[in-house]
């Protein structure tokens, strides 16, 4: 046993301990999670993008993939360096794992003149995500407050959320639309993970610095051979995270932002955005925290009734439909609703930001509307208007 070999010493690992594993041992970690009964999922390549999928070993991860992201544009490229996490963020968040796009709530049939209700059975197998991003873990915490701990818990959310094991991959290659550093949700992992990986490949070779987040994470790592992180590993990890922040060129100025948006309901900018906005709802559908849903009751030919919950969007006219018509009939009012909820009224409602800075709404908007650019423009208009006001007061 070498000086740093921790194999067999695993049970002594504590929260916040740093150890180092090699790609083979990451493979072992994934296999161990499978052996422990977890359904193991992670980022995979599918349809020309990085998407959630089944991961049974490191070869299922996006080996060598790089993502080029800009407003309304996403492309994958490949390198032969074998890096597993040298990309920013995938096309889809992990939201769908806990909050399915379409889910039957119940079905009722009439038997002998009595309504009999049945609910779908829930999968009992816990999920382990290998390679979620820090912003995605932050997003799960945001969703927890809404769908699990909030006033109206979602049927099924906590059943799938319970027992979730998270191996987060800290970010070393932020994308062109990332702004997690502004939102305090990355590139290093905040709370909510069991194990955090940071991928390094330098003179000391291709390896992962593993930070233990929970006692459960320590237990799992106990079954995987690892070495203690050296001072050089620790320094390299810190440098990689610093470099990551420096490479993130997109920012959202959050200071006073909630109040700014709250007093900008009449900003002319909303109408300007509406000229470009397709009202298609893509931003809400790719957002890892957007939780709006629709409940529909339908009947079938046999007379049975079904209630189905589906993802909805504040960009859908039907979403705000009350008697007589939709409350938010214009695209400008719908975009304003979305953005001001995300960055302003979410604070009032859940005491947190609704945005984690993953940048998906920017990349996957078919016309590339950029929430950071729009927020900056509204701030600019607000400052100009206040300057005029001060001038008028002085006269």
């Amino acid at each position: 046993m070498s000086l740093h070999d921790r194999s067999g010493l695993g049970p002594n690992l504590d929260v916040e301990d740093l150890v180092v594993i090699r790609p083979d041992q990451l493979n072992d970690l994934i296999a161990r999670l499978g052996d422990l009964g977890y359904e193991t999922k992670g980022p995979t390549i599918g349809d020309g993008a990085i998407v959630p999928g089944a991961v049974r070993g490191t070869s299922d991860l996006p080996v060598g993939a790089r993502d080029a992201q800009s407003p309304g544009r996403y492309r994958l490229e490949y390198s032969d360096d074998g890096h597993l996490f040298e990309w920013a963020v995938g096309a889809r968040s992990w939201k769908a794992e806990f909050f399915a796009p379409r889910e039957r709530q119940w079905r009722a049939v009439i038997v002998d003149g009595t309504l009999r209700f049945t609910e779908p059975t829930k999968s009992a197998r816990p999920l382990a995500i290998i390679g979620a991003r820090p912003c995605e873990v932050a997003a799960i915490s945001v969703l927890d407050e809404v769908l699990m701990n909030g006033a109206c818990p979602d049927t099924g959310y906590d059943a799938r959320r319970e027992g979730l094991f998270v191996v987060v991959a800290e970010c070393t290659a932020p994308g062109g639309t990332c702004f997690c550093a502004s939102m305090g949700s990355g590139p290093s992992a905040g709370p909510g993970f069991d194990l955090a990986l940071l991928e390094l490949d330098d003179a000391d070779g291709h390896r992962f610095v593993v930070r233990v987040g929970t006692a459960r994470g320590a237990e799992v790592m106990a079954g995987v051979s690892s070495t203690s992180a050296t001072d050089a590993d620790v320094a390299a990890r810190a440098q990689a995270l610093d470099r990551s922040i420096n490479r993130m060129h997109r920012h959202l100025q959050t200071e006073g932002l909630a109040a700014l948006l709250a007093r900008s309901m009449e900003s002319p900018r909303w109408d300007q955005i509406a000229e470009r906005c397709l009202s298609c709802g893509n931003c809400t559908l790719v957002c890892p925290t957007c939780f709006c849903s629709d409940f529909r009751d339908t009947t079938d030919v046999s007379g049975a009734v079904e209630r189905t919950r589906t993802w909805s969007s504040c960009f859908d006219l039907d979403h705000s439909y009350l008697h007589g018509g939709p409350v938010r009939a214009s695209t400008s009012s719908r975009y304003r609703q979305w953005m001001s909820h995300k960055l302003s009224t979410w604070w009032d409602q859940f005491d947190t930001s609704g945005c984690v800075g993953c940048g998906r709404c920017i990349t996957w908007c078919p016309v590339g509307i950029d929430i950071t650019e729009e927020a900056a423009a509204i701030r600019g208009d607000d400052e100009a208007a206040r300057a005029v006001h001060v001038e008028e007061e002085a006269r």
């Binding site: 020309g48 996403y74 889809r92 470009r276 397709l278 298609c280 709802g281 079938d300 859908d316 996957w364």
Partner: protein, 267 residues
């Protein structure tokens, strides 16, 4: 004409064809699993694709397929309306004028002269127009062809006296619900999904193709902005115009965009 039992209290259903390919009314026969139960819930009084037996109106629900392209049909739809308690139009022809609506953009007789050896034998109108241009319509079900599940939903909703659960939002919502990767963002594939009404389940993007706009404009379609983006991705005005001129070419929003794109003159 067949005899009707005086004790048969089932609502009556009639299916009518105007200028169309029959695909939408065949969607009713495609409801294979539910067809017998449906036939138990309604009395199918007139449906020539299914039976030569036909009974006189009035009918509780009429499904109308096809557009108005001849003087005779312009008359006939008036009688169908008079005979129908609820009139539901089905498909792109009936709701927007269909692919034959391309004649609305061409010189009179241009298409007929191309297709028929002796167009002088034809007695047609200059335009192909939706049923709603001629009579009051109670509900429009879009699609080319319509989705059979949506058709069933509309019929069941009318029978139950409730609002049909048929979405008016974009195809994108269905596409994302199916976990598709956006073909426009990831591949610059021209796609009408963001301005097209849902209903198909995101069929074409699921196999890597852009949306053809079969279900017509969504409730709040911003075609100008989408067309601008397609142009930025390299599409010419002629290409974008052609994208909007298919099965729903005559739907007002698509029509206006195709005309705007044709006027760009950068073919």
């Amino acid at each position: 004409m067949s005899e009707i039992s005086a004790t048969d209290a089932r609502p009556t259903l009639a299916v009518w064809k105007f200028a169309s390919c029959d695909g939408c009314q065949l969607s009713l026969l495609d409801c294979e699993d539910e067809l017998l139960a449906l036939a138990g819930a309604v009395r199918i009084a007139h449906f020539t694709e299914m039976s030569r037996t036909s009974t006189d109106g009035p009918y509780d629900i009429s499904l109308v397929e096809g557009s108005i392209t001849t003087p005779d049909d312009a008359e006939r739809i008036q009688q169908v309306r008079r005979d129908s308690r609820h009139l539901v139009t089905i498909g792109a022809c009936a709701t927007a004028g269909g692919i034959q609506g391309l004649r609305n953009f061409a010189a009179e007789g241009a298409y007929a002269g191309t297709v028929y050896a002796h167009p002088e034998y034809l007695k047609t109108l200059e335009t192909s127009t939706p049923i709603s241009d001629h009579v009051a319509v109670d509900y429009e079900l879009h699609g080319c062809p319509i989705d059979r599940r949506q058709l069933l939903e509309v019929l069941l909703a009318f029978l139950a006296g409730r609002r049909p659960a048929v979405a008016g939002h974009s195809v994108c919502q269905e596409c994302k619900g199916r976990s598709n990767v956006c073909v426009m963002v990831a591949n610059a594939t021209p796609c009408l999904g963001p301005v097209t009404r849902a209903g198909c389940g995101g069929l074409c993007p699921s196999v890597g193709r852009g949306c053809f706009g079969c279900f017509g404009p969504s409730q709040s379609a911003n075609t100008i902005s989408l067309a601008d983006q397609l142009s930025r991705n390299g599409a010419t005005g002629e290409l974008v115009s052609r994208l909007f001129r298919t099965f729903n070419a005559n739907a007002p929003v698509f029509r206006a965009e195709s005309e705007r794109q044709s006027a760009r003159g950068d073919a």
